[in-house]
């Protein structure tokens, strides 16, 4: 929705009257101008004599003039001026004098209504009122309330049908963008991002797009709008338009903010004393439960060994002082050690201006965000250079360049034990991160826990401080164009675009750091990866627009060619004898892994839009794409679309004085494609020359090669076919309401189909299966609602979506995914549904254990689960569906209140009907296995016959953790309600009074305090209720994902 603020009604009337006594035929002439003095043509002027019902109608000509000839001299008339994009103006009781000398000069004020907006669509623009497809527009102003570096983060909650999942809080990580549900299972899920007409490679990092430069973002949600981008549009298209000079005046704008971030999660672990109790309980019960008849909790170490106890059944000697509750022992909270309060700051300087023929815009940006994790974060230096010039009346030339340099300190955070977050969960509070002399404490837990096989985890603070994982990126993208007007209405445009990227990853893991199970010193590891990307685009378009009476035609044809080359070389260094040189230079042997790929796309595109009488709209678009990625038999895809719209409020029968000031219904049908598979997905690739394929004859290495994928010459696009119907209504001229219903069916899914393994393969990429998304998007926005001196802008949206798998491969009824094979995509159900047992309690007596259906291997203290099919056996047939990550609906609610010089802005974002499967809780924190640290929730609710007899979670058991307990990891205990309502952004700003600002020699000075994610209301206990991997099939499987930050900042906007 637009923000058109602070225009005041400015209507001036000039009337010259002459007194004439007798009533004669009178004539009146007039002209209508905009506030800025532009002559307005096509303005409708209606006049009625006061007391009469007869209407006279006139329209202004191209010079803004209108006239009425047969008026009655000396009578009073009412005039009504109306024009699209302007506020109606009524002039009442105007006395028309005799003769021809009556004249009127009317200035109309631009309406604050969004309907006059111009919306960027693929390869052109349209007036919003004539848009028939589903396009959401968000202004740069709106997204800037969220302080960050990433437009996708900023889009969260701002428009209907667009869901942003911030699955990781690591600075520089792309959030997931889901437009109208997920329409693919195993092909890429990324929408197409087009910056100023240049389509970036799918999946590209968003870090290279300076959000301060964004003028507006348009999201093409339905395939009919997106089909002009053909085979790359099925996941939706995001068009980013960057700022350009708004006037010839030289202007400098400075935007700066700084602040700090802290964790915004609800995770809570127990302290060392409770942990000691927990580990002791787990080891004791593991020991005893193996043979209760022969073993006792009071058996000492030697007795236990004699009775055949395994390492995990022995007591941990160092726990004794904790169990005795001695005061002042080491009690480390590892989560607090690895995380910190981290600063974030941004400064942006934009300079723009022009000289009538030429305009320029250039910006310089420095952004620095440290991560919540120690020694982690991102820094970016970027610039935008934009120049447009008129070479002649007919020709125009422009160029945009976006260079940037980004440096990232990166850590993997997928929950692994050698990753900082994964390790912290397995770090016992009995160990310290630093020695007394301040040096890092290395491998202490690994050494201490080895004899009894506890968690053998390296100090994650040391991991964070000693591992170097430095990633730098140089990126330059942009384009140049020539516009040439061949004849009136006929424009040719030639565009050359390019995207060049170089990145360098430098990794070093020194020898004085251990890894899981392995204490330091161990051999150092070094690697580096160089990648380069070259992508270029050539485009020719010819646009023709013609107006014949009430018929408007817009025709577009075009040709596009895009080619991308990727190179990467990963070099690993081995035999690093000392840590003197901390990169691969210190190695004495090397292995390299080169990789290159290339894809080419050739496209022909066309669009015809026809508007009749500004009431009836129809359009047809057609794109043909050829792609090198697909099989020889299916190189070309065809993507048509048809749309229609009817502005019913323009009909004569529609009451003019209705509260509904605008109304349109529209419908679309269209097709788009998804081509996101590897560059050579249709071929059987023979790989080798690597260790896995090499063999050694005695001591002589021989290189081997073999196929690891299956060929498929018929491989082609996923096709998304969708219908969209929409209603746009404006009431009271201020409130815009849009409601849209859609159904989108993806057929020929690019599916990595699991295949019978006797084929020699586990999966094969095929075009098989169908998936349907249906949903409803509703948005309401209102601008400049006046509540006394308080002005209120509001934008609310809600989006419902549900998906259903219609079919998979022949004979295939489901695809199973997830760490515990309990995320199932079944025909007839939704994608990636969680399954599991319904836990009903804990086996506390032998009687219960003997007389209740149970999982094989169940012990006392294990979990009782529901026998759903009542067959007396517990097996996976008793799994019940337990929801999915894809929410039932999402909503956003943004408000701006302006009072004098103050402005308060805030946005709420919410998700309802979402589940997250916390697989790390299932296997570690809340499994009761006595291996990793438990959460406070688990500890307080665990069952123990003596220490906690009323507990309802499984009894801690380490050495004899049963197969039944492992099976119950797939259960409702770990499938969490992850609904949330979040105050996404909040900003309180103060505009310094212009008198003060002028004295300081400035044009404008605005200061603000702001916050991101100030609060989140959720029942979710894990790190991040948005956690999910990229794989669609295991959507919503959380593995201790990097928590997102709560950020407090102060900032200012200065215009010189």
């Amino acid at each position: 929705m637009v923000n058109q603020l602070k225009l005041l009604l400015l209507v001036s009337i000039c009337c010259l009257t002459q007194m004439v006594k007798a009533q004669q035929i009178a004539q009146i002439k007039g002209s209508v101008l905009s506030e800025t003095g532009e002559l307005l043509s096509g303005v409708s002027v209606i006049t009625t004599q006061v007391g009469s019902k007869e209407k006279l109608i006139a329209t202004t000509n191209e010079r803004g003039l209108f006239s009425f000839n047969n008026l009655k001299g000396g009578s009073k008339y009412n005039f009504m001026f109306s024009h699209f994009g302007y506020e109606d103006y009524a002039l009442n009781n105007f006395v028309v004098n005799n003769g021809e000398n009556n004249s009127l000069l009317v200035r109309l004020k631009v309406t604050t209504s969004s309907l006059s907006d111009v919306v960027v669509v693929g390869y052109g623009t349209q007036q919003k009122r004539f848009v028939t497809g589903s396009v959401a527009k968000v202004s740069g102003q709106e997204i800037s309330n969220f302080s960050g570096n990433n437009f996708a983060q900023q889009l969260s909650g701002k428009a209907s049908g667009i869901q942003i999942n911030e699955s990781s809080g690591q600075p520089g990580t792309n959030p997931q963008i889901v437009i109208r549900g997920i329409g693919t299972l195993t092909a890429g899920r990324n929408p197409l991002i087009v910056v100023d007409g240049f389509p970036l490679t799918e999946g590209t990092s968003f870090n290279f797009i300076n959000t301060n430069d964004i003028e507006s973002i348009e999201v093409l949600k339905d395939p009919a709008s997106a089909s002009i981008y053909g085979s790359r549009a099925a996941n939706g298209v995001i068009l980013i338009s960057t700022k350009k000079s708004k006037s010839d005046k030289f202007s400098t704008a400075i935007d700066a903010f700084t602040g700090y971030q802290q964790r915004a999660d609800n995770i809570e672990y127990i302290d060392a004393y409770d942990a000691a109790t927990y580990f002791a309980e787990a080891r004791d019960w593991g020991y005893v439960s193996k043979n209760p008849a022969n073993r006792s909790i009071t058996d000492d170490r030697a007795t236990r060994i004699a009775k055949g106890a395994s390492l995990r059944e022995l007591p941990l000697n160092y726990l004794t002082p904790y169990l005795n509750k001695n005061a002042g022992l080491v009690n480390t909270n590892w989560i607090n050690e690895i995380f910190r309060q981290a600063p974030m700051s941004n400064i942006n300087v934009a300079i723009s201006g022009g000289n009538g023929k030429t305009s320029y815009y250039t910006s310089f940006n420095y952004f620095n965000q440290e991560g919540l994790l120690l020694n982690n974060g991102i820094k970016r230096f970027s610039s935008t250079i934009k120049l447009n010039t008129k070479l002649s009346e007919k020709a125009e030339f422009g160029i945009t360049l976006n260079p940037s340099y980004t440096n990232q300190l990166f850590f993997n955070t997928n929950g692994g034990f050698d990753e900082p977050i994964g390790a912290a969960l397995a770090m016992y509070p009995f160990f310290k991160p630093y020695n007394n002399d301040g040096s890092l404490a290395i491998s202490q837990q690994i050494i201490a826990n080895a004899p009894e096989d506890g968690a053998l985890t390296e100090n994650p603070v040391a991991t964070l401080k000693l591992i170097k994982n430095n990633r730098s990126f140089f990126r330059l993208f942009g384009n140049g164009y020539i516009n040439y007007t061949i004849a009136k209405g006929l424009k040719y445009k030639f565009t050359v675009g390019g995207d060049f990227g170089q990145s360098f990853f430098d990794f070093y893991n020194p020898s004085n750091l251990g890894s899981y199970r392995i204490p330091a010193p161990k051999p150092a590891i070094a690697s580096e990866t160089n990648t380069s990307l070259t992508n270029y685009l050539l485009e020719h378009t010819l646009a023709y627009s013609k107006n014949i009476n009430k018929h408007d035609f817009n025709i577009l044809i075009g040709y596009s060619y895009q080619k991308e080359n990727n190179f990467s070389t990963a070099v690993t260094g081995d035999n690093i004898v000392d840590d003197n040189v901390r990169n691969i230079g210190g190695a004495s042997t090397f292995s390299a892994n080169p990789n290159r790929d290339r894809w080419v796309q050739v496209s022909y595109l066309s669009r015809l839009q026809y508007i009749f009488d500004e009431k009836y709209i129809a359009s047809f678009a057609y794109r043909a794409d050829g792609s090198s990625r697909f099989g020889d038999n299916n190189k070309w895809g065809k993507f048509p679309s048809v749309t229609a719209g009817w502005i019913f409020s323009k009909e004569h029968f529609f009451p003019k004085q209705s509260i509904i000031s605008f109304g349109k219904i529209r419908a679309t049908w269209g097709r788009s494609g998804n081509n996101q598979i590897g560059s050579y997905g249709s071929l059987a690739i023979v790989t080798g020359g690597n260790p896995a394929n090499n063999y050694i004859w005695g001591n002589n290495v021989a290189a081997g090669f073999s196929a690891n994928t299956t060929p498929n010459p018929n491989l082609s696009w996923e096709t998304n076919t969708s219908y969209n119907i929409g209603l746009d209504v404006q009431v009271f001229k201020k409130i815009d309401i849009t409601a849209e219903y859609y159904t989108a069916t993806t057929s020929n899914l690019l599916l990595n189909v699991p295949v019978p393994q006797q084929s020699g393969f586990t999966t094969a990429l095929q075009n098989i299966g169908e998936l349907q998304n249906r949903g409803l998007d509703i948005s309401i926005s209102a601008n400049q609602l006046n509540l006394g001196k308080l002005q209120w802008n509001i934008n609310a949206n809600i989006s419902f979506n549900n998906n259903k798998v219609l079919s998979l491969a022949p004979g295939q009824t489901q695809i199973i995914a997830g760490n515990l094979a309990n995320i199932i995509t079944k025909v007839g159900s939704q994608v990636a549904e969680f399954y599991g047992y319904q836990v009903t309690g804990v086996f506390k007596t032998q009687d219960e254990l003997n007389n209740t259906p149970k999982l094989p291997g169940s012990l006392l203290g294990d979990l009782m689960v529901k026998d759903i099919n009542n067959d007396g056996l517990i097996d996976t047939k008793d799994w019940a569906p337990m929801g999915a990550y894809a929410p039932k609906f999402t909503y956003g609610f943004s408000n701006t209140f302006t009072y004098k010089n103050f402005q308060l802005t805030f946005s709420l974002v919410g998700v309802e009907g979402r589940k997250v499967f916390e697989s790390n809780f299932a296997t570690r924190e809340e499994s009761g296995e006595g291996f990793a640290m438990p959460t406070k929730y688990y500890f307080e609710n665990r069952y123990h016959p003596v220490n906690n007899p009323n507990g309802f979670l499984g009894q801690p058991n380490y050495g004899n953790f049963s197969a039944a307990r492992r099976a119950v990891r797939a259960s409702n205990l770990f499938i969490f309600d992850a609904d949330f309502l979040r105050l996404r952004d909040l900003q309180l700003a103060f505009n310094l009074p212009s008198s003060v600002v002028k004295k300081a020699g400035l044009t404008n000075l605005r200061m603000y305090v702001g916050a991101n994610n100030l609060f989140t209301i959720t029942k979710y206990r894990g790190y991040n209720p948005e956690a999910t991997p990229n794989s669609v099939l295991s959507n919503g499987q959380s593995t201790s994902n990097y928590p997102i930050a709560r950020t407090i900042i102060i900032g200012c906007n200065i215009t010189l």
Binding site: R517, S591, A703, S706, P756, S759, A963
Partner: protein, 466 residues
């Protein structure tokens, strides 16, 4: 300004020719339809077939464990470790989701498919020397037979694929083939391999004729076809290509690999090519404290260690004790880099042939020949001649000798299955160990991996695992 218009027009003309750019071939990878057209390319595919024998799912780690950990020979130090994939097998709690089974199954069929690809294409590829081409065909047939022989013993009825996969969907709904059919294919492959394989090779590690004969002998023995087995085993012995090494200390020495006793072994080496040709088995099968990162899987039991008499040279050479007196498998030699073990994994060696000979002759009633064979093994280990004089006593003596001689080589569980003693032996073992575990006939086969059944439900699970 007309000039500006001219430039893109020229470009446009150039560009229309660019649609042929839509044919893009891999740059750093090869493509199957254009591969295996020359002798060199066939050799590369053959190498990768051998390489797949090194993977974790096969001889790199899991197969030797699957052949031994269910038995009384070995145990798991921390049964819950690594998702309990070893511990569950050790304690007869294996579930269809067991990751070791999944890996073994997948790796088996990947290897078989590589054999199938070579066998399907080699006919039309010209070789400089016809014998080489024949040898490669024999090698692929041997490897395919070896993998099927393992599968059929571990899982019973299994899917049988002997053609190159053109369309993987073809296998949906094909189900499992009967054990007898699988054995027919194994016998056919080995018989054909014997006819074309050379008797020696210059490249240590390649399959030779005696390997195929030895394996066929074992296949027949497993099927209790003693006369057929005798023919093959006698042929191996008569070939004079192999012999028992005089000292048990030399057989598994890293400096004496591929010696005369070794008939077929999967090759590994330390410190080669950035430590990529070593094996992680030593680290995985070492008790805690023996080496950095030791996992304590598949450790020899104390009970077995105690079965060696003091004078038995195999005590120490085959099983040694850590400083903490924990027995460990000393046939695997300690590497410098823990996960880069250099010990080859022996699949067939002459001592096994001699013991099989003893077994076959016992069953055929040739007691003297059987005793002589058994004594060859005993005498080498500095033990006196056997005292067993009857068929029944000899069976037990041979069984014990196989445990002592072949421990840590992944044979014991297959021996128990072959002799039909698995259930009684294991139940006695658990009773002695004071462990409340009961072994029933369902455990004689492993479950089919759950993911295979999920993919194609026409493949039915083994009885008792549903």
């Amino acid at each position: 300004m007309k000039k500006i218009f001219f430039i893109p027009t020229v470009l446009m003309v150039l560009l229309t020719a660019c649609t042929k750019d839509l044919e893009q071939l891999p740059i750093t990878d090869k493509e199957l339809s254009k591969f295996l057209t020359t002798e060199i390319e066939v050799e590369e595919y053959v190498v990768s077939t051998y390489a797949s024998l090194q993977t974790n799912g096969l001889y790199g780690l899991y197969l030797p464990a699957m052949g031994e950990i269910p038995s009384d020979n070995t145990y798991d130090e921390v049964p819950a470790n690594d998702g309990a994939i070893y511990g569950d097998m050790d304690e007869f709690k294996t579930v269809p989701q067991n990751g070791m089974i999944a890996d073994n199954w997948r790796a088996s069929y990947v290897t078989i498919q590589r054999c199938n690809v070579v066998l399907n294409r080699i006919e039309n590829v010209p070789f400089r020397i016809a014998i080489t081409k024949n040898a490669r065909m024999g090698e692929m047939k041997f490897i395919r037979a070896l993998i099927y022989f393992n599968l059929v013993q571990l899982y019973g009825d299994i899917p049988l694929a002997i053609d190159e996969t053109k369309d993987p969907n073809f296998y949906f709904g094909k189900g499992r083939q009967l054990v007898a059919e699988v054995y027919n294919q194994i016998t056919k492959d080995l018989t054909e391999a014997i006819q074309v394989l050379p008797t020696t090779t210059t490249q240590a590690g390649r399959v030779i004729k005696t390997a195929a004969q030895a394996l066929l002998g074992k296949v027949y023995l497993t099927q209790k076809k003693y006369t057929d087995a005798k023919i093959q085993l006698d042929a191996v012995i008569a070939s004079n290509a192999h012999s028992l090494l005089p000292s048990t200390a030399d057989i598994f020495s890293l400096t004496n690999e591929n010696n005369r006793e070794i008939i077929f072994a999967i090759q590994f080496a330390s410190g080669v090519n950035s430590n990529t040709e070593g094996s992680i088995m030593y680290q995985q099968f070492a008790p805690t404290g023996l080496i950095s990162g030791a996992k304590g899987h598949n450790l020899p039991t104390r009970e077995l260690y105690n079965k060696y008499t003091i004078t038995d040279t195999r005590r120490g050479n085959y099983i040694a004790l850590t400083t903490g007196n924990v027995p460990f498998n000393n046939k695997l030699k300690r590497p410098t880099v823990p996960a880069d073990g250099g010990s080859d994994i022996v699949v067939l060696r002459f001592a096994d042939i001699v013991l099989m000979q003893a077994e076959v002759e016992t069953e055929l009633g040739n007691i003297t020949i059987a005793q002589a064979a058994l004594n060859r093994i005993r005498n080498r280990a500095a033990l006196a001649n056997t005292t067993a004089t009857t068929q029944i006593l000899l069976r037990d003596a041979i069984e014990l000798e196989r445990r002592l001689e072949l421990v840590g080589e992944g044979y014991r569980w297959f021996d128990l299955l072959r002799t039909g003693k698995a259930i009684t032996t294991m139940n006695a073992w658990f009773t002695a160990e004071n462990k409340p575990i009961s072994v029933t006939s369902k455990f004689l086969l492993f479950p089919i991996p759950q993911n295979q059944i999920d993919t194609d439900p026409t493949i039915k699970q083994n009885e008792g695992y549903n």
